[in-house]
Symmetry: C2
Subunit: 200 residues, 2 copies
């Protein structure tokens, strides 16, 4: 049995923090793992900014609910789910992704959890596990699945390499350059074609 594991942000939906930064007019929230490789430190920095600006979880969800999947993503996801199983492996938080999952027809999403108190103030976050994308692929292997994986970023490389087959998608030039063994595609038609050949 086959399964396709896809990254979420940059692949099916826009980068959530970047869009959130634009919507709120807080440029500091554009800082990503490329600027601050320590994820724990980066998230504490972000949560600190949220709290300083009195942005609570419902405010964040409201902004995210106004975002849309990338053009063509819903059609691609629908076609894919008619052919095989899809699980989205993401470093985002389930409470953030929810409005976008609704717009994508509720594909399965394995990600992390944001913590908030009764007032909606964001107090922290819980990683499902360290290196969660790669560990998920390893666990799917224990279920005897054949796995195809695709993503756009540094945190997708271990997942792609752990899978039986995979590729980069929408990856920045620098990531493509230092990973010449991984093909990179930029359209959903190309991605669907390569997955179809994997499924045969």
């Amino acid at each position: 049995m086959n399964i396709v594991c896809l990254d979420l942000e940059g692949v099916l939906v826009p980068e959530i923090w970047i869009e959130f930064s634009k919507a709120t007019g807080i440029p500091e929230l554009q800082r990503t793992t490329r600027d601050e490789p320590d994820y724990d430190k980066l998230m504490k920095f972000r949560i600190d900014i949220l709290n300083k600006n009195n942005l609570k979880l419902p405010d964040i969800q409201k902004v995210i609910s106004e975002m849309e999947p990338l053009p063509g993503a819903l059609d691609f996801a629908n076609k894919l789910r008619e052919k095989t199983q899809l699980v989205i492996l993401s470093d985002t938080f389930e409470q953030f992704a929810k409005p976008l999952m609704f717009k994508l027809g509720w594909p399965s999403l394995f990600c992390n959890t944001i913590n908030s108190d009764d007032s909606g103030t964001v107090t922290g976050f819980t990683l499902r596990q360290q290196n969660g994308k790669k560990e998920a692929v390893k666990a799917f292997k224990l279920m005897n699945m054949r796995i195809f994986a695709a993503g756009d970023s540094y945190n997708d490389l271990d997942m792609i390499r752990e899978a039986h087959c995979g590729c980069l998608f929408h990856a920045p030039a620098q990531i493509q350059k230092v990973n010449p063994d991984l093909k990179c595609f930029d359209t959903y038609d190309e991605l669907l074609t390569i997955i179809e050949s994997f499924l045969k």
Copy 2:
């Protein structure tokens, strides 16, 4: 992060072989694991009948495509998928379940595979793995998931007991009787309520 693992047949859709037997008027196809506990032997018996009656994979899929999910199942699945992740763990075959997955909005389905030749003749089947439902729950635990599981039959008991929490659903009286430690529910409202209390 939480995940709900549900059996398919008897829980969200009718028993596929029973319905198929009715639709084709072949009573031998009503034979189940309760009559023949050796699954391999049972499937060989079924495939033999399919071939004797010249029923090919597209014929089977056509009959199944006329089936409907159980009353209320789609609404229940939709409500559940807004609250948490759902993966269906089933002993059915992906090619059989497909038309019903379409009617349920393509939830994730981990199951087995039927083998057929170019003419559509069913030649055999491939189990994803032995005891696939329990093994899937064990693998989800390695992903650090909290798991709720529910099913109606003997082959669901290991899955339910391996999960952090679970129950029987639509189970025959005999199965309830010999598993007094497992609660059994018969309506989707009850099942949703017990799952909601697990998610809290």
